[in-house]
């Protein structure tokens, strides 16, 4: 009898604390469902309800040479941005993680600051540098290296520079923590057992840093794949990417089905990349084995 009452009481407590948990999360849950999942669901569902047929908007998208070019350009820019940011972010994070502690916190602050500065400001800075009468062109002309200003803006290179500028700090920060946690002893053991610095890098340091590399790569790839302000300012119409195309279809052409199709493609690719990479991260995490 006594046991029953105790069981009842603990069951009741579990139920009521469960209710309290639900009640406290309810406002945020309803907000995410009502204002995020449902509106995005409507956008995605809308693309499959076309009177011309269920996949008609996608057939139309991939039949347009311009739009497929835009998709591949966006993927290419995101991939190149990710690779460049990985290489330079990794080297910088390595140097930061091995710096004396006072210098290290200064270097971390110096990486955080650009991140907290808005994307428009950071894209605008490159407009001053790469413009026709920008700093780079003026310097090169004054030095007599070139006679006519180069067309640097509205090229793929300009967009990639702007994107790397946006995302290198993110890479430094996500790698510095990981590299710092790799014990010095492991690297010392490797070299004292006769491994060359190059071998130590490829066989010890890099495998241990893989989880951080994957997190950084996902952040940079999805960020540059969906960025708007930087390609808009530095790439213009000539370097149209999915985000700028989405804005044009929705706000200039009022082509809602076209815009929704682009939005769905962007969401599908972003979520696939995140899922595949986090699966990969779990499988090859050397710490877990």
């Amino acid at each position: 009898m006594d046991g029953d009452a105790a069981a009842m009481r603990s069951k009741w407590r579990l139920l009521s604390s469960g209710l309290a948990g639900w009640a406290l999360t309810a406002p945020a849950t309803l907000a995410v469902i009502g204002f995020l999942l449902v509106p995005i669901g409507i956008v995605i569902a809308g693309t499959f309800m076309d009177p011309r047929g269920i996949f008609a908007p996608y057939v139309a998208y991939f039949n347009s040479g311009f739009r497929t070019t835009v998709l591949f350009r966006t993927l290419q820019i995101a991939a190149l941005t990710t690779i460049i940011s990985l290489v330079f972010g990794f080297i910088t994070a390595y140097v930061v993680s091995r710096a004396p502690s006072r210098l290290k916190s200064l270097l971390i602050i110096a990486a955080v600051f650009p991140l907290l500065t808005g994307v428009v400001v950071r894209a605008f800075a490159w407009l001053i540098i790469l413009g026709r009468n920008g700093i780079l062109n003026n310097t090169l002309v004054n030095l007599g290296i070139i006679s006519e200003p180069l067309e640097l803006l509205y090229t793929q290179g300009a967009v990639i520079i702007g994107m790397v500028y946006l995302f290198v700090p993110l890479m430094i920060l996500s790698l510095a923590g990981v590299l710092e946690n790799i014990p010095q002893d492991v690297l010392q053991a490797s070299s004292s057992l006769g491994a060359s610095p190059v071998a130590t890098f490829w066989q010890v340091l890099l495998p241990l840093a893989v989880p951080g590399l994957i997190v950084g790569a996902v952040l940079v790839f999805t960020g540059s794949f969906t960025a708007y302000a930087t390609p808009q300012l530095l790439g213009g119409e000539r370097q149209t990417v999915l985000a700028t195309l989405l804005q044009q279809r929705a706000m200039v052409s009022f082509d809602w089905v076209g815009a929704s199709t682009i939005a769905t493609i962007m969401t599908a690719i972003t979520i696939s990349v995140v899922l595949v990479m986090s699966h990969l991260a779990r499988r090859i995490n050397p710490m877990a084995t």
């Binding site: 406002p27 972010g89 990486a111 650009p114 950071r122 605008f124």
Partner: protein
């Protein structure tokens, strides 16, 4: 690889930091220019472009709107995000795991897609006025940061302290404010600052939601750059940077900046 990075690696790191800092220095230099076009180094120093920021009514209005949206949006996100973060940690066993994932979802969805979806359902579909739609968009934009940062600091909180206070007769709500909240103060401040700065700088969500008469500062800057190429934008950028520095100084004083890097 030896204990200390070699010279080549250090040289590359120095170049990366120059690459990171240089453009910001150039913006500051250009903002002090005396000429009507953008140059660096500036030819003659003046503060005329800073005056121009406030002389243009569109900038004055959008600065106010951006601050209002950032403060209100962050406040609402804290109001619904703090109880959620608390419950996710306190009732970890009772609540299903997907609930925690739900609050990370907004980060997975591209911001620009989210902005477009809100335009379709709220602004066009339900006729919500511009300010309301912006507020909803920014609240949801910053909600994941709020929930995640506060959850991170609650993860190390020992809930048996709270239970002790309640079993000693303290009311649950009073216990929350006198026992739990002071222990996660750092997390709440960090969440507020991250959310405020994210909202203030947002382009992708606001892009679709601004309308005639009501716009945010970053959208106004974009519009200005595309029409005029004068140092006004450099000046307004410097003002934003000052705001960021001020906020960072407050964080440094209260928490230490490495907190934000986590």
């Amino acid at each position: 690889m030896s204990n200390r990075p070699n010279f080549v690696l250090i040289a590359i790191a120095v170049l990366v930091y120059l690459f990171l800092m240089g453009p910001l220095v150039i913006v500051v230099g250009a903002s002090l220019s005396d000429t009507t076009f953008l140059t660096f180094p500036p030819q003659g120093l003046s503060l005329r472009w800073f005056e121009n920021v406030f002389a243009i009514s569109a900038f004055r209005r959008t600065i106010v709107t951006s601050l209002q949206i950032a403060i209100l949006g962050t406040f609402v996100a804290l109001l619904i995000g703090l109880p959620a973060a608390y419950a996710l940690n306190r009732y970890r066993i009772e609540l299903p795991r997907w609930l925690g994932t739900l609050f990370v979802l907004p980060i997975l969805v591209p911001e620009i897609v989210f902005g477009f979806a809100l335009l379709k359902s709220l602004s066009v579909g339900a006729g919500v006025p511009v300010f309301g739609a912006l507020l909803v968009g920014h609240t949801l934009l910053v909600l994941p940061y709020v929930v995640r940062v506060i959850s991170a600091s609650l993860a190390s909180f020992d809930f048996s302290i709270e239970e002790a206070a309640i079993s000693l007769g303290s009311a649950p709500l009073k216990t929350f404010f006198t026992i739990v909240l002071p222990n996660v103060r750092a997390g709440v401040i960090a969440a507020f600052i991250l959310a405020f700065i994210t909202s203030l700088n947002d382009v992708s969500v606001s892009l679709f939601l601004t309308g005639p008469g009501v716009s945010t500062l970053p959208i106004q800057i974009l519009a200005h750059v595309e029409q005029f190429f004068d140092p006004t934008v450099a000046s307004v950028s410097v003002l934003l940077m000052f705001l960021t520095v001020a906020v960072m100084a407050v964080v440094e004083r209260t928490l230490g900046l490495t907190f934000l890097a986590k």
